[in-house]
Amino acid sequence: MITLILLGTTLFLIVSLALILNLIMNKGLDEVEYQREMVTLERVPRAIDARLEILNHIAIDWGNWDDTYNFIKNPSPDYVKSNLNAESFAQLKVNILIIADLNGSMVYKSHYYNGVLSNNTPELEEYFSEGINYFHATGYFTDRGIILLPKYPLLVVSRPVLRSDGVGPNDGHIIFGRYLDLEETSYISDFVGYPVEIMRYDVVVPDDFNEAKLFFSNNNSLLVKNINETTSFGYVLIMDGYNQPALIVKVIIDRTAHKQGRIIQRYLWASVIISCLVMMIIMRTLLSLTLLRKIKKIYTTIEYVRAKDDLSKRIDVKSKCEIGLLANNLNAMITSLESSRAKLVQESEEIAKANAELKKIDVMKDDFISNVSHELRSPLATIKAYTQMMDNGDLGKINKYQKEGVGIILSSSNQLQNLISELLDISRLESSNARFQFSRQKLRPIIDEVIFEFRPGLRKVKGRVVNQVSKYCSLDIDRDRVKQVFRNLMDNAIKYMSKRPLLITISSRKAADGNCEILFSDNGVGIKPENMVFLFSKFYQVNQGLNKAAESGVGLGLSIVKEILKAHGAEITAESDYGKGTTFRIVFPPARPELVND
């Protein structure tokens, strides 16, 4: 990616530069070419002038001659015979000769063409119908120029006729005319340096000439058009002797300079491309050697560290530049990761060790409690056995005072027994060392059993229990433990009954989400609002019960209930109306809870 950006940018820059250079060069070359073409086109009128000059020399030759001078005064056939024969015309390459006197009348006229010399010159008559004066009448005709005759354009030169020594006054004029034929055209081409085509202005011309005419109508006289890569056409307007458009000369210019320029351009581009390629290769190699290789080393090492989770590896890149710095920093980071991981591992090992230690202690505690409870129970059993025997009279008759005392001992022993049981129980339940045996069973008969156990106690206080639990209510429970729950609830209800006869109602309800709700209501003294929060706390007792049962516990009953239900995934809450009664609500979950310990 980096490579792409770098190379792309550089390429772009180089190409832009090359394009700009190309543009500049083209413009320059075009400019130069145009100048040169103009120069070339300017040679056309000069070429014509050169041809006229040649004719002029001939005219001077013949004009500054006594013979001609005398001929005008006395036109004699001898002059004509000796000088103006066909051979002379051919030699001079003259097509028209007119000798006129000062009045403008033609003393001599002849037309030579294709070996035919003739004095009968209908074209001349037509053109020169107004006579030679036409030339001079306007006072405008230069002594040389072009006249458009029907057959060809005519190069015309006019000289005054003088004596041989060149002294005047002139006797008349001598006019030489030469057709601008193919031969002349080729001389003009030679002079200009390029082939020319000469087109008369007064004829129907090809399209490109028409275009040139249009151009020339705007006071221009030179036009250049680049036709293709190799040729340009130049058009030159040539005026005639009366300064009217006479000819359009088309110059076929070979664009050698342009072609050369194009070739140079091609070389330029070729070298640009080659140098670009070379540069790209060099850059790529350089980058790869310096940057890319190093970067690759960095990311492959990081990948390896990540994949193999091997924090011992380091990046092997040594460099003074930013890449080296990056590598060093990354290595430092890996090092710190390594050490913090080592620390973590060590810490988790220590935690595991501490955990194992705690578990051991937990087991030890459990064993301790188990042992202690056994050790406490054994002598207690002995006390109870003998006390009962005494109470029963098995160890001899006792008086009523002794019986009373024995009764008290017995009651205290029972209290002690309950306390030991409850302590052991709550300790086991809280440390999750208590074990449960869950199975699905119907709740109603279990509650009936507990009620049966309490029959003598209930009879004593004239209490009544109504079991309205649905016979379809079936739950995953530990039978003995659930019995314990209801036993404890019953104990509490009896302990805290009011003056009125005790009525306990146990009912069930299935909630919408599948939970099973059990309600345990009594009509006892109820619980004061400020005591509610302590209800399920350990060792909490309110000494308000009107029926102080002989076997009152130490306030663990409800905590045990709560812990057992918690192991069942169930929750217990209480609502009370102080003075009216209390309702405990137990919500069992519908599905089997996680086994605490098995």
């Binding site: 188990s370 056994h374 129970r377 054994s378 059993a381 002995t382 109870k384 056995a385 009962q388 022993s413």
Partner: protein, 121 residues
Amino acid sequence: MIKKILVVDDSIVMSKAIKIILEKAGFDVFTEPDGAKVLDTVKKNKIDSVILDLMMPGISGKDVLKMLKSDPETKMVPVLLLTARIDVLRWDADFKIAESSMQKPFDNHELVSEIKRLVGN
């Protein structure tokens, strides 16, 4: 027929107490503190039921129970496990071969009722 009960407990005072309780109820009571001798004692005296304490030094109550129940002569004799550690009974399947169990401390009359039930009075 007076039924013969054997009390196996390492606590002399406990054995004595149970003896008085059961004799008062009309049983013939034997005591044996040493677990190793229980099997012989049962056979010798044609014991009708055994009250067995579990936590004993030397040979354990469990082993005594196993001995009694594996011997064809004594395996039909009902055994009542008497122990402070009632939870152990619940979780150890080896004890299920005993016919009954009771936790210490116990109610004297309850013990009597249970023994009567075991020997089929």
